[in-house]
Amino acid sequence: MRGGRTLLSQATLAAPAGVFTAIIGPNGAGKSTLLKCLSGELHADQGSVMLDGKPLSSYRSEEIAARRAVLPQTSTLSFPFTLREVVALGIRSGASSQPIYDVGRRVSEALERVGLGHYPDQLYALLSGGEKQRVQLARVLCQVWEPVKDGIPSALFLDEPTSSLDLKHQIGVLELARDYASAGGCVVAVLHDIDLASVYADHVVVLKQGRVHASGAPEVVVTRKMLSQVYGLSDEMIELKWGMKQLA
């Protein structure tokens, strides 16, 4: 409940390790709210979030941060950090209990992975929106670098990670997320692009007005019926967007 409005109700979601879970749904369906509940940023009035069978609230925030990183939708920064410094914040966050000896190399590697390895001393504030989003992704990656650490899986929560990216980088980011999941990590991403979600996610959760409308493998969940019921798309609109492509 926020401002007297119920944002989520009966939204049950399991995000197992090794699985890339995508949350899709129309604007205002509660996707980001659900992610905020999962990350512990918001507390649900009813219901609970469990991590390894224990309620999330029973963990200390450092413990959670050591195995779960969150990519925010937008991030403003009015201080002159360079790319390297922003990414290094992920490593030096409250999460890292043991020292990492080669911070510089880890940071460069993370920047390489999001395609920004060239100018690590550039000022963050001078980047474009899409580049900023990728720097943030590199920072988040540094926080939970190993998908599985000491036998315990880590989790990446991404809130619309592709919203300001061009097509090539959208695919790059989703591939990165998929690789993270197939290496044993847990990935939960709020996505807008249903096509990309169907291609890269193992599991799709469709939210409608705060409820889970459907949940399952993409080919089962993404159907004409779902598109018209959840997004209110007419047959012509579906035809226009997807054309001759086969949709169940």
Partner: protein, 367 residues
């Protein structure tokens, strides 16, 4: 064009270890060089003044502790009872203002936040002025202590209340609106100014002189007792630096982000507000409202070494101390034997820097 592209290629080929940006260079030398600057300024401040005490005499006096020849009584008084407390007080206040400014800017996630500009210092001043007026109604035994102990405490609480009000008014869901913050600061400043004015209107001549001192800022009333009375506040601030730096860095990214990175943001913010209010209160109670140190010092240092608080905050302490002690030297020598209020000197240096932040980094600051 080709050569430019090539040089970029080359620099990336050297790898991270080999390329050193100007920022890396400043980062590696800033702490030791600021320490040297600070030491030099401290020595100069003790050595220079309207009454000439030669460097030789200063050296002899230092030696006299280990059994050298003693100074003349006049020189001893000038050095030990006048210049040294004044210099130490200036250093303590400068360090607090520099660090408090940087911390407040991190708390508000905004490089323009400064305790002097957004009304925190006026809140402290109001509390301090109230104590002065109240003190005349207290029993003599209490009134004597009021100046020493009550004043810094009152200034601390005045600053605390103003900071809390300001934070509540200008922050919604972890996002601080810069425009609201500055405007709320103006409103709070006007309100506390009005009440202070009312108290001045009701005050006698002696109190009036005290108020003038408060509104312009001066280190002229420095005594060892005054140094001792603010020392706990300043030490608390300086000792908090290592514990708050990492959290402040994360806070610059955003409150939710800092939480996701494992920091207890509520606790962090609470501690920051208390520590900043304590430092501002201490500074105001000992030397009145001295503006702009908290904005000039962190700003200059961020240009050179970036905003990483683990290095920025210690540097702010050193540069703030050096700057205020130097400004005080100017204030007492430029129109000697009279004194120019140090607040005037800091405003002359600080206002242009503030404007240049607005002009030069308009793209980085969204109002």
């Amino acid at each position: 064009m080709a050569s430019v592209a090539e040089s970029f290629e080359n620099s990336s080929e050297f790898g991270q270890g080999a390329t050193r940006s100007p920022r890396d260079f400043w980062k590696s030398i800033c702490l030791p060089s600021l320490a040297v600057v600070f030491a030099v300024v401290m020595i100069l401040s003790v050595a220079i003044g309207p009454t000439s005490v030669s460097f030789g005499a200063l050296g002899r006096w230092l030696v006299s502790f280990v059994g050298g020849e003693a100074l003349s009584l006049r020189d001893q008084v000038v050095l030990f009872d006048i210049r040294m407390p004044r210099t130490v007080l200036g250093a303590l206040i400068g360090a607090s203002l520099g660090v408090a400014g940087a911390m407040m800017q991190g708390l508000f996630r905004n490089p323009l936040a400064d305790p002097g500009l957004i009304g925190v210092a006026s809140g402290s001043s109001l509390a301090a002025v109230s104590v002065i007026v109240l003190a005349s109604h207290l029993p003599v035994a209490l009134a004597v202590h009021a100046g020493t102990y009550l004043l810094p405490l009152a200034a601390f609480f005045g600053g605390l209340v103003t900071t809390l009000v300001l934070y509540k008014v200008s922050t919604r869901g972890g996002e601080t609106s810069i425009a609201t913050m500055l405007l709320a600061g103006i409103a709070l400043g006007a309100l506390t100014g009005a009440v202070t004015g009312l108290l001045i209107f009701k005050s006698d001549d002696a109190q009036l002189r005290d108020f003038t001192f408060w509104s312009m800022g001066s280190l002229g009333a420095a005594t060892w007792q005054r140094v001792l009375s603010i020392l706990p506040f300043v030490l608390a601030l300086l000792f908090s630096i290592p514990f708050l730096s990492k959290g402040l860095n994360a806070l610059l990214l955003g409150e939710a982000e800092a939480f996701h990175m494992g920091f207890n943001t509520q606790k962090l913010k609470r501690i920051l507000i208390i520590v900043v209010a304590a430092a501002t209160g201490a500074a105001v109670s000992a030397a009145g409202a001295i503006g702009f140190v908290g904005i000039v010092v962190p700003h200059l240092l961020r240009l050179l070494i970036g905003p990483d608080h683990r290095l920025l905050l210690p540097c702010c302490a050193l540069l703030g101390a050096a700057l205020l002690v130097a400004a005080d030297m100017v204030s007492r020598s430029i129109v000697a034997p009279a004194e120019l209020p140090i607040g005037i000197i800091m405003a002359v240096i600080g206002a242009p820097v503030f404007l240049s932040i607005l002009l030069g980094r308009r793209s980085l600051i969204s109002l």
